[in-house]
Amino acid sequence: MTQITRRAGLALTALPLAAPPLVGQTLTRLRVSVIPVTDVAPLHAAMRLGHFAAEGLEIDTSTTAGGATGLPGLVAGQFRVVFSNTVSILLGIREGLDFRFVAGAAAGNPAPPDIFAILTRKGSNIRSGRDLEGKRIASNTRNNIVWLRGMAWVEKTGGDWRKVTTVEVPFPQMADALAAGQIDAGIFSEPFASGALVSHGERLERVAWPIIETAPGATVAQYVTMKDDLERNGEVFERFARGLFKGVDWVNERRHDPALLDLITAFSRVPVERLRQTALPTYPKAVTPAEVQEVITTMARFGMGGRFPAPASLIFRTANG
């Protein structure tokens, strides 16, 4: 058995190994793990506009809808760069994994509409964290940025987060679960929040923008890589960041422009009509020590404390703005 699979493995992995990049001729291949969400629009824009090719890079994205394989795949060497939410990244760092921020990706907006929203059933009279005590709130995953921002809102609005039961419900099923009464509230991210209000509008309502009410404009996700890879190939990641940032500029110049929505539709497959009602995040280039510290501090309040290295030491020079 092992022999057969090992042989199959060798045969299949031999292809990429057999073609090392020739300096000045072939592009350096960089495998990037992403999630099909609006947050990664700048990466796709830079790919489409040839900004990576101009830097001698060939970006090969691996899209995983759930996003569960991103960071483990980075540790295993399957990816060189991973798009992930700040909490998952920091939890890995707390466990001793050498993740380093190479670029910012997405943050909340300073004013509505924002990218996270808390929805409840109309008539359920749940308007605050206090009302949710003893009830069930859905998050796509526990212990990620969505859950953290949701719990911060529960606390801010007078509730005890320990008395609120978190139920893990994938985003696509959240609206149905809420409308059917299986949960009492849901922490939605875009485009699922606006999608739920369109499809279930007569039964669901938005009661909060959790990020705006607890830490307006706070960070959500970044691009990370491994420390050793950065030390050995720092210049490759400088090229990656330069290409990416041109994509960020392009996206920021076209917020809600049809060209941007077409781009997002192409990689996420979300219909354009739905994207027109979707709030896009803020697309930062840099990662600041202050924003990382904010997440670490908030995590400690919700049972995810621990010893972390100084935030500044986690940020590679490309993300210094």
């Binding site: 199959a8 483990p72 739905r274």
Partner: protein
């Protein structure tokens, strides 16, 4: 043939269920946009099939499935023959095999990503592991069921161990091996799609999850229908192949009856 000429009651039940689907969605009994009418789903299926996207993905999925099935199945036959005919091998490896067998394969996909990556290597391995066990147990069963007379006759004629295994034992246990492969085939399709759903950007499984997250229920159900039809077709195809390959066995059965 008969089913085509005169619809059987089973066929009518399916029609009734599909009609119920269409009606329940048209009248929005489920109160959700995530339950689209069958007609809309079929339109999505036709669009993505004719557009060439689904056939391409399906081809990839089938390739991974058959590669894993053949590799794992062949290993199952070889190990099964060894275990059954050389007791020492079974004493050595039997426990290991019995310990690995009950592990739900999808549970080991995330750790396998560490060693084998996200692409074909990992998926084919996972499918191979899935196919290995049913074929192994059936092969061992088959070897036990080989008629003692046939083996004794082989020995009397002085046929050696290896030739006996190849020319008497293997053909005699082939019906069991085929039964194992049939179980493995159904599992292999399931596991291929699950592996594609969990990791990487390949095949029908990834497409299904992508459509789910894009809020495109018709495309998602179109994929589900496609997989149902594919699973049914594969099983029917396998049965036909089995009848041809084991015609002597079925002829024997007919004679006894």
């Amino acid at each position: 043939m008969r089913a085509l000429a005169r619809p059987s009651s089973g066929f009518l039940l399916i029609l009734a269920l599909l009609l119920l689907w269409e009606v329940s969605a048209r009248f929005d009994w489920m109160n959700s946009p995530n339950w689209p009418p069958l007609s809309v789903v079929l339109a999505a299926l036709a669009r993505d099939s004719l557009g060439g996207e689904l056939p391409l993905l399906l081809g990839g999925t089938l390739w991974r499935m058959f590669a894993g099935l053949l590799a794992g199945g062949a290993a199952g036959v070889i190990v099964g023959l060894l275990f059954a005919s050389l007791p020492v091998t079974r004493r050595l490896f039997g426990l290991t095999v019995e310990l690995i067998r009950p592990i739900p394969i999808p549970a080991i996909i995330p750790p396998l990503v560490l060693f084998l990556g996200l692409d074909n290597t990992m998926k084919v391995t996972v499918v191979g592991l899935t196919a290995f066990f049913p074929v192994l147990t059936n092969t061992m069963q088959g070897v036990r069921a080989v008629e003692a007379d046939a083996l004794a006759m082989g020995r009397t004629f002085g046929i050696g161990f290896w030739r006996r295994s190849l020319h008497i034992v293997l053909p005699a246990c082939l019906p069991y091996v085929f039964a194992g492969f049939r179980v493995a085939l159904a599992l292999a399709l399931v596991v291929t799609v699950v592996a594609e759903m969990i990791a990487g950007e390949q095949g029908v499984g990834h497409y299904l999850v992508l459509m789910q997250f894009a809020g495109r229920a018709p495309e998602m159900y179109a994929t589900v229908i496609l997989l149902a039809v594919l699973g049914y077709g594969l099983n029917r195809g396998f049965l036909a192949f089995e009848r041809r390959a084991l015609h002597w066995y079925f002829a024997l059965g007919a004679q006894r009856n």
